[in-house]
């Protein structure tokens, strides 16, 4: 009996190790945020995703993992070229603020996304503390000019647009059922 139990224990331990080490994928799984999926916002295509809070460096430039419930990201690419950003490429120098509201329209969390890169590429994101529940997220995307980014506007070398947008672009994702799955 004892030998059987010891064997059972050993098999369980080895199974966990083997299953863990056999995972071929990277250690995170992005969850789509909201029911809208990808949205066209100005000249960009944007999608919001979330997963477990992460460590970022330099540590003092972002909210720490401890005390955060999730890492929220906005993945975006340019789908036109009015400002000279390559089509299908990431757009740098944006300032993106977010407002998360509950189903009654009450603001629960607000903040700014930081530019950063993960193993799957550059994006804007941050760790945030948020109780489980149903929410909507509104992004306010300010132009790169607010971060000192310039455009060529002369006839020979200039981009298509005369300048960046002046009022923030806005996009909202709704019906986000946030449950911590990690």
């Amino acid at each position: 009996m004892k030998k059987f139990l010891a064997l059972l224990l050993a098999v369980m331990m080895l199974s966990v190790s083997a299953f863990a080490l056999a995972e071929e994928e990277a250690g995170f799984d992005e969850y789509e945020l909201g029911v809208e999926g990808e949205q066209e916002v100005g000249f960009m295509t944007m999608a919001m995703v979330y997963f477990q809070p992460v460590d970022m460096a330099p540590a003092d430039l972002a909210a720490p993992r401890e005390g955060s419930d999730l890492h929220i990201e906005v993945d975006l690419t340019a789908n036109e070229n009015p400002y000279g950003f390559p089509v299908d490429g990431w757009v740098p120098y944006l300032s993106i603020d977010y407002v998360i509201k509950d189903t009654e329209g009450k603001e629960v969390v607000t903040g700014s996304m930081m530019p950063m890169a993960a193993s799957d590429g550059p994006h804007y994101g941050n760790n945030i503390a948020l109780p489980e529940g149903e929410y909507s997220v509104t992004l306010s995307i300010k132009s790169p000019s607010e971060n000192g980014y310039l455009l060529h506007v002369d006839d020979e070398t200039g981009v298509e647009a005369d300048g960046f947008w002046t009022e923030p672009l806005e996009a909202t994702w709704t019906g986000w059922k946030f449950v911590k799955e990690w």
């Binding site: 863990a20 250690g27 799984d29 941050n126 529940g133 149903e134 946030f178």
Partner: protein, 423 residues
Amino acid sequence: MLKYLWTVTQDLFVAVTLVTWMHAVLARRYGKQGRTIHGVGIIAGVVASAVMAAVKGNSNKIISSHWNHYIYAFILGFTLIFILSSLFAGKRWSKLTLCLSGAGLSAALIFYQLPGVMLYPFNFNTMGEGYLSSYYMVRMAGWLLALLLLVAYSRMLYNCALHIKPLGAVNGLLTAGALVNAAYCFGRFFAPWVNRAKWLKWSVKYTEESYGWIGSWMMFTAYQSMLFIWLTAALAAACLIICFAQNVRVTEPWDNPAQHRKLRARNRHFRRTACGAMAALLLFTGFLTIIKAYDTRVVELSAPETFTEDGDRILVPMEAVNDFHLHRFEWQTPNGIDVRWIVVRKPNSASYGVGLDACEVCGNAGYYERNGLVVCRRCDVVMNTNTIGFKGGCNPIPLPYQVEGGNLVFAMADLIAGEREFK
């Protein structure tokens, strides 16, 4: 410290209670054999958790959401088999199924929660000061204290559950607790489905119209996750009250005063054990209500202080901000935006840390003073007072100022430039 008192309790309380009852029930039903098989389940759960924590902490091979999805399935399966086997407890075959499903359920309950708790000490935010810092030590103390209290509670609850009469009472409490936990796991099991997780590759996708009740139940477990803990705590309290009530007076026959005294001493022992476990239960209740509320409270910003306006300048008397404490000011721009800024005199220095009451990371959440330190209200990061006024990261966005005639002088134009942070 406080954070880990309530988080560890919240993470492990249900698992500890159910595993303890399971051990008592199997020990009472099948004696040493029941204890041994369930003990193996517990050890397997702990060892598997340690392996999982080690792999998770040292590689990117663990996707918690995938594992949790299957652990929920195991918990639901083992709960079902255990409850069905309990209904046929008299049958010969039920011994094997009860012991194995009980051990499996306990292993799954432990494996679900323990790896995360084991990893907490490796993820404490030490503000870059390492493992020997006070930041680390106070968090470690909270983590250890919660674990020790849970072990003590488990020991006392086990003693009570082992002696309550009849066995059916403990079995009923265990079954009720397991069902409560299964109801919670049932809702969580569907989370990847409701959230359209691509990795599931299920052909049927969730829609509100077709499967609304699944999403509703999942959201109920999200909004009311504490309810499941309180229900388990109520069952644990009932167990302890029954134990206490059954040991108030001696009901067994006794032959002589010595035997009577012995029975009374035994009753006293069980009453004290029940009271001890109840004290632990009350302590946990305190952790999950008062301590949690205090630890997660939204700190109110202190009221803005007064200043004088001088044309297009704002004057703050230096004597009003010389006390090394945080001072907050607010001025409404011509655009109607209330712009806040902070001033703190730097330690061992005649200079001041000055910046907008906002940072590039957390927006205009603001800063507050805690034990003489300046802390971000949003992310709880303690600022180095000496770097306030420097650009970047969690530092307050710098605000230019001049010292003139005993005043700190701010240009209104600089405050107007900062109004976008407060829109």
